[in-house]
Amino acid sequence: MAHVVQPLDQPSNYKDSQSRVERAKQNDLLSKSTTLYIGNLSFYTTEEQIYELFTKCASPEDGGGIKRIIMGLDRNTRTPCGFCFVEYYTHAEALASMKYVSGTKLDERIIRCDLDLGYKEGRQFGRGKSGGQVRDEHRQDYDPGRGGWGAQAQRLEAERRREVEERYADAQEGPGAVAGGGGDWKESETVVPSRKRGRSPDDEGDNVRMGHHRSRDDMEVERM
């Protein structure tokens, strides 16, 4: 397919400049990626707004959905600095966002989506000198949605700013700071803590095995 036009769901020249993964491996990861980098967000845009738009590309009937959203924060001020990661459960959903959402408006700004290698610890923070995104260091224009506002600030924007400044004041760093979003379904009798339940002899085997699984999953959450 696609001999006449270029599909929109192809990886662009966007990349994580700090990724140490070799190119072939990167391409492989991108071809399965469930994560999107979302750029050109307003600093005021909330995760719920993002959720509302991106959930339109979700396919829950196929085991999909929005797994988590990781808001990009200014390293120093812990306030949103105009980007985020949206992670789905399936690759197809990420591709759908590339096709249908990238280049449309959210909160009255045209946002861009790019397939991402996957969230890694620390990537939620801006990499610019000032703590925000690098692009905002060099930006010449006046951009009210991205901190470029002053005396002319609108009343509404000021109110939103107050909320936004407080929202992530508690943001943490390090392992476990970012939630996983919930993994695959697991047989539940082994997940429920058997606090009060009497143990039956055949419980043993299951619990041992599941315990093992769980610790592995927990590690995975931490690694991410």
């Binding site: 397919m1 696609a2 001999h3 006449v4 036009v5 270029q6 599909p7 929109l8 769901d9 190119r23 072939a24 391409n27 909330t46 995760e47 719920e48 707004q49 959720y51 509302e52 339109k56 590309c57 396919s59 829950p60 009937e61 196929d62 085991g63 999909g64 959905g65 988590r68 959203i69 990781i70 808001m71 759908a96 096709k99 249908y100 959402v101 280049g103 449309t104 408006k105 959210l106 909160d107 009255e108 509404l156 109110e159 939103r160 929202r167 992530y168 970012v178 939630a179 996983g180 979003g181 919930g182 695959d184 379904w185 697991k186 047989e187 997940v191 429920v192 803590p193 095995r209 959450v221």
Partner: protein
């Protein structure tokens, strides 16, 4: 820009290690690769790009270029044409003309032509292989577009009339197959219909014409499709089975209508309905250039890959999505946009729909191509662009391009039970069209919105009303939320639950989700701003019930909250909660201590997670053991948890959806719990108290969230089992291969078979776990579906002893009641909407319902078994239509 990706693949083929660096280098700079196109590639691209300026002018030049290419490669030419035909349907007549030029004997070639076949025939022969490929894959759109091409070529005298009728006959034959699926039937019928519309004029003149027979076959088939049509009409009618609709048409119905009309006048109208550039060429002498004979075909049967996974009750758990009849909604009159019941109108819509489908991969290009579409039509089909020179042809149809395109996009958005692509694709495509040509597309969009809004009061399907609100909100969010709300001010007089009022409320709610309350509020005229039945007067924030220091449980809540804020361990919080419970119990003044404690705890947990979606996830993950402890194992505590969530977020229904979803994700509650809760607590803002139980779009979203979760999990579990089995089979095969030659193969087979079937599970613990999970999940899936049916029964046909009765369930389904709907109050409209969601449930989940129809039917309808009340009868009838028991 690339026109063919396969060319990128070439350097990768057959490369050893040596290649590695080069590949890497190539990836750095795509442009280098583009500029080294081979002559074949260049020719192929030239073919694909035919008509960028003027196809008629370019045709002889292109034919010449093709003939002069050295070396002449037939596969390259045929591939170019094949790509062009299947990806640019609007250009097909011109490719037929090109092929005709390649078929024409050239000067000096005459002597040879009787012995060797023309270049055109050679290309067709190779093209046929591609067609056969599409047919083998049952790639219906590609097959159908190739048939367009063949049909034009028949008129162009390149393909023999007899072989073309035989081809179309083969597709009609599909309709006589025993048990043909609707999707297969519809696709085959469309192939025959469209092929006949294009080639009928020459077929009619042939002595061996089978046109009438084909029409009859399609007609018989179409007559046999009755029940499914009633379920997917865009306007919902509960009282009548009449199939004639004012504002919509079903594609096969219409195709037949067009064909029959053409047939009765020997297809004379066809020739002016679509371009036939090849008719300008002189007639061919069949004795000199014999036409190409299409080989005979047999449409291959559908292959269903059975994975043999059954539920523990032995039902086949595999879901096969069924196609439904396609009703297209009309927004404009036949002067403004094509009348689909005319040959030109039918084909224009078909081509626009194909374009929308093909270019789904790039909505921006799709929008551009749609606006360029008139170029490929008979002159005068569409009104000239403003400022363009006066048309030469006075007698044109003069349709409006933008309205036509928007009508087709919305038509495919409003297909039921679901649109061909995700809703958001249609929305994004319309956005692109508006960006490309705001002054012409904008008004068409505005008019469409007004027409749809009007349709809301006349039975527009509830699911489509929801999609309409979704489109409206997303569209407005891309264009500054500018809508002339004041023109709908008079409708504030209507009942609060009138579909127009529900639409306004819902559209504004969706707008707020994408933006924020104050922003949306200020786009409204004052009377709407101050009306809480239009828009809430509060920002959709959390509602922490125990925040008020005068609340009796204020201190209790604060003590939990401070533990959570201090990030105490989950088990510490749990034991604190236990001690609080004891205190409350011993104080003796409190009833329902458990329920109260659960509510307070959930409110506290949601409160620390209320800042953002991520905060919610963090709170849940940190306190999973707490949540599990609160949820326990009984259904009641889960209902309490869900109720607490709904009350905490009662100002923000998006958050209710999100929290429910994540509680299911983290397995605190099951989909069945959510379904049960939804039916127990139906009653959003507008229907509080003990009014009849009814569902609005919000409750539907909750139900859908739960059912999709249950179905999605089964899907994932199925894939896991399949992957593990494959892995297992592969390893068995490897063992077999390594044992290899020494062991007699017969003996080996005997060893392997029982191993695969019986012992595989015990050999592979992962597979055992996966199969067990699959069994649990299908049970859960069935439970959720059964609970949904029960829930609908309690809304629409509650048994006489039930606490909440709904007298309107029987009255709103009569014609008399519908006629006086202007007098309906909230209860009537709510009930009517509930009927709509029930229908939508049946048709959306029909593949699942069909699989489990015995169990679900028995369990779900137990309470109304044998009931002859009109409501109970309609419920069972709808169920029967969706599960295929009623035809």
């Amino acid at each position: 820009m690339s026109y063919d990706r396969s060319h990128y693949d070439r350097p990768h083929r057959g490369g050893g290690n040596r290649r590695r660096y080069k590949d890497d280098y190539d990836a750095h700079d795509r442009r280098t690769r583009d500029s080294f196109e081979s002559p074949e590639q260049i020719l192929k691209n030239t073919i694909i790009k035919l008509g960028e300026v003027d196809p008629i002018q370019e045709l002889p030049r292109l034919a010449k270029q093709i003939r002069e290419q050295v070396p002449l490669s037939v596969p390259v030419i045929s591939e170019g044409i094949r790509i062009a035909v299947t990806e640019q349907p609007y250009k097909i007549p011109y490719y037929a003309a090109l092929l005709r030029l390649l078929h024409d004997p050239t000067e000096g070639e005459n002597a040879e032509s009787s012995t060797s076949s023309s270049l055109g025939k050679q290309v067709l022969e190779d093209f046929w292989k591609g067609f056969q490929g599409y047919l083998d894959k049952l790639a219906w759109r590609d097959v159908r577009l190739c048939i367009h091409f063949f049909a034009h070529l028949t008129v162009a005298q390149v393909i023999s009339i007899e072989s073309m009728s035989a081809l179309l006959q083969s597709f009609a034959a599909v309709l006589d197959e025993f048990g043909v699926s609707y999707g297969r039937g519809r696709n085959a019928a469309l192939c025959a219909i469209e092929g006949l519309i294009i080639s009928g004029a020459v077929m009619a003149k042939s002595s061996s014409s089978n046109t009438t027979e084909i029409i009859k076959t399609v007609q018989n088939y179409n007559d046999s499709i009755y029940a499914p049509k009633l379920l997917v009409q865009p306007a919902m009618s509960l009282f009548t089975e009449s199939r004639s609709l004012e504002n919509a048409d079903e594609v096969i119905d219409t195709g037949l209508f067009v064909l029959k009309a053409l047939d009765s006048f020997e297809f004379v109208e066809a020739s002016e309905s679509f371009p036939q550039p090849y008719l300008d060429f002189p007639d061919l002498d069949p004795t000199v250039s014999a036409p190409f004979e299409l080989p005979a075909i047999l449409v291959p049967p559908e292959v269903i890959e059975l994975d043999g996974l059954a539920t523990d009750a032995g039902e086949d758990a595999q879901v096969k999505k069924e196609d439904w009849p396609q009703y297209f909604f009309h927004l404009f009159d036949n002067e403004t946009t094509p009348d689909s019941a005319t040959p030109a109108g039918f084909l224009v819509r078909s081509q626009i729909l194909d374009t929308i489908d093909i270019f789904e991969i790039n909505r921006k290009e799709c929008a551009r191509l749609l606006l360029e579409y008139p170029k490929w039509c008979v002159p005068g089909t569409f009104k000239p662009k403003p400022g363009a020179p006066e048309p030469e042809f006075e007698s044109g149809k003069n349709w409006q391009l933008e309205s036509t395109v928007i009508e087709a996009i919305l038509g495919s958005l409003y297909l039921l039970p679901e649109s061909t692509h995700k809703t958001v694709y249609h929305i994004a495509l319309i956005t692109e069209l508006c960006k490309l040509s705001p002054s012409t597309v904008g008004p068409a969009v505005g008019k469409s919105i007004r027409r749809l809004y009007t349709a809301l009061g006349d039975g527009f399907d509830v699911e489509n009303a929801r999609r309409f609100a979704e489109w409206f909100a997303v569209h407005m969010s891309n264009f500054g939320f500018q809508w002339v709300w004041k023109e709908w001010l008079p409708d504030l007089e209507l009942s609060e639950q009138h579909p127009k009022r529900t639409f306004i409320r819902r559209a504004l709610e969706f707008e707020i989700r994408l933006s924020y309350h104050d922003r949306v509020l200020k786009t409204l005229p004052e009377p709407m701003q101050n009306d809480t039945t239009v828009i809430s007067d509060q920002t959709p924030g959390p509602a922490f019930e125990y925040e008020d220091p005068t609340h009796p449980h204020y201190d209790t809540a604060q003590s939990i909250l401070s533990l959570l804020r201090g990030r105490s361990k989950a088990n510490e919080v749990l034991s604190h909660i236990e001690s609080l419970k004891t205190t409350l119990e011993s104080s003796g003044t409190h009833l329902h201590v458990d329920n109260t404690i659960r509510s307070i705890s959930i409110h506290c947990l949601l409160s620390i997670g209320s800042r953002s979606f991520s905060h919610l996830l963090n709170a849940i993950e940190r306190y999973l053991p707490l949540l599990r402890g609160l949820a326990g194992t009984d259904a009641e505590s889960k209902q309490d948890i869900l109720s607490a969530v709904a009350s905490f977020w009662h100002l923000n229904r998006q958050m209710v959806n999100i929290v429910f979803d994540k509680l299911m994700q983290y397995q605190i509650v099951d989909p069945t719990d959510v379904v049960g809760w939804t039916f127990e607590n139906v009653g959003g803002d507008a229907h509080s108290g003990m009014r009849p139980m009814s569902l609005s779009a919000f409750e539907w979203d909750l139900l859908k969230g739960a059912l999709d979760k249950a179905n999605g999990r089964v899907m994932v579990a199925r894939r896991k089992v399949a992957a593990l089995r494959k892995e297992h089979d592969d390893s068995v095969a490897r063992v077999k291969a390594s044992v290899g030659a020494d062991v007699g193969s017969i003996e080996m087979d005997a060893d392997v078979k029982p191993f695969k079937q019986d012992d595989s599970a015990s050999e592979n613990p992962q597979l055992t776990v996966a199969l067990k999970a699959f069994a649990s999940l299908t049970r859960e899936q069935k439970g959720a579906l059964a609970r949904t049916i029960e829930g609908f029964v309690s809304c629409l046909a509650p048994c006489p002893s039930a606490g909440r009765q709904n007298p309107y369930a029987e009255t709103v389904i009569t014609e008399q009641a519908w006629e006086v709907r202007a007098t309906w109050g909230a209860d009537e409209w709510n009930t009517w909407e509930t009927w709509g969601w029930y229908r939508h449930f049946c048709r959306t989940y029909s593949p699942y319902l069909r699989n489990y129809q015995e169990t679900l039917g028995t369990v779900g309808f137990a309470k109304i078994e044998g009931s002859t009340s009109p409501a109970a009868k309609l419920m069972k009838k709808t169920w029967g239509m969706a599960t295929g028991q009623e035809s």
